[in-house]
């Protein structure tokens, strides 16, 4: 974090982050409400739902955990499941790491706490055009985090307000948002090969294997194709 930079620049970066994350903040609202309601239906208290959102801050693993919840809560298997479904974050963090040179070492450790898929994707997208600053990252993280914690709590307090998201097509909002994010990274034919491999891997594993393995399988299929088809200019440039 550079103390010499003008505060106005920080404010501008923060605002740019907020504007970038806003569509995702809106898209995530029904999911947050549903997650909170499901949590209470599974026997969690409102404060336990809020605590989970505040400490875990990972939508897909929270949904899976609530699905698997029994009483008393099996801490070990729920922790192991969260580890599995979030394994993709290791690859994502490794990629983002190279773009965090404007962050202090403490700032990096704090930043990755907020590295939900949407925040990571928009941070990576920003880094394609200009250096990623802590102010921009905060602009992404603060609204999505507060929205997630507050609205999962609201969903828990209100109970079964939206009990069937598919009836309103809310389940598909997430898919559409991610299609929008993919477009931001698109680089022509090379991207098509990666996306095709990733989709094929994910669909095949999703059909054959129970649980969240399909994400990591698809991601690995995609990056393997990228590594194998890398042009000579990329391969020769060794450190």
């Amino acid at each position: 974090m550079t103390e010499t930079a003008l505060p106005a620049r920080h404010i501008g970066d923060f605002r740019a982050g907020v504007i970038a994350i806003l569509p995702l903040v809106v898209a995530v609202i029904p999911f947050a409400l549903i997650l909170g309601a499901n949590g209470v239906a599974r026997g969690l208290s409102v404060s336990e739902v809020v605590l989970m959102s505040a400490l875990v801050f990972a939508g897909s693993s929270q949904f899976l955990a609530i699905d698997l919840w029994t009483h008393p809560a099996p801490a070990l298997s729920l922790g192991a499941t969260a580890l599995l479904i979030n394994l993709r974050h290791v690859l994502m963090g490794a990629s983002l790491s190279g773009k965090l040179d404007r962050f202090s070492s403490g700032g990096r450790l704090l930043a990755v706490f907020f590295m939900a898929d949407e925040i990571w994707a928009l941070a990576e997208r920003r880094a394609l055009d200009r250096p990623l600053t802590p102010a921009f990252y905060a602009g992404l993280a603060v609204p999505l985090y507060l929205n997630w914690v507050l609205l999962t709590g609201l969903g828990a307090a209100l109970g079964g307000l939206v009990d069937d998201p598919a009836a309103f097509g809310f389940d598909f909002a997430f898919t559409a948002v991610f299609i929008g994010l993919v477009a931001g990274f698109w680089k022509g034919r090379q991207s098509l090969a990666v996306a095709a491999a990733s989709a094929a891997g994910a669909i095949a594993v999703h059909a054959l294997v129970e649980g969240a393995w399909f994400v990591i399988a698809g991601a690995l299929a995609g990056v393997t194709v990228a590594a194998l088809t890398a042009g000579p200019d990329k391969v020769e440039a060794r450190p």
């Binding site: 008393p72 099996p74 963090g93 790491s97 929008g180 990666v194 698809g218 890398a230 990329k234």
Partner: protein, 99 residues
Amino acid sequence: MTFDPATLSAILAMALATYLTRVGGLWLAGRIPSSGRVRAALDALPIAVLVAVIAPSATAGPAEIVAALVAILAVRRLPLLAVVVLAVACVVALRALGG
């Protein structure tokens, strides 16, 4: 404020596991080469992860496949929020038609 001890430890286990995956990438990044094929793989990661997350739900049935194609065609022409509204409206209409 009511916290069941077993629930609390489950939440803490989930939080720890999730943070470990997120911070693990920072640790890994210093131990892999920053160019060549590894670089190409990491550059491709955003598309690979995002496509893997949505591929099963985007191909769940005819309604989802058509709505996903509509979103793909619209994404270069419309702002993200409009794409989402269009895709959701499309999937709701097609699911209603398909029964």
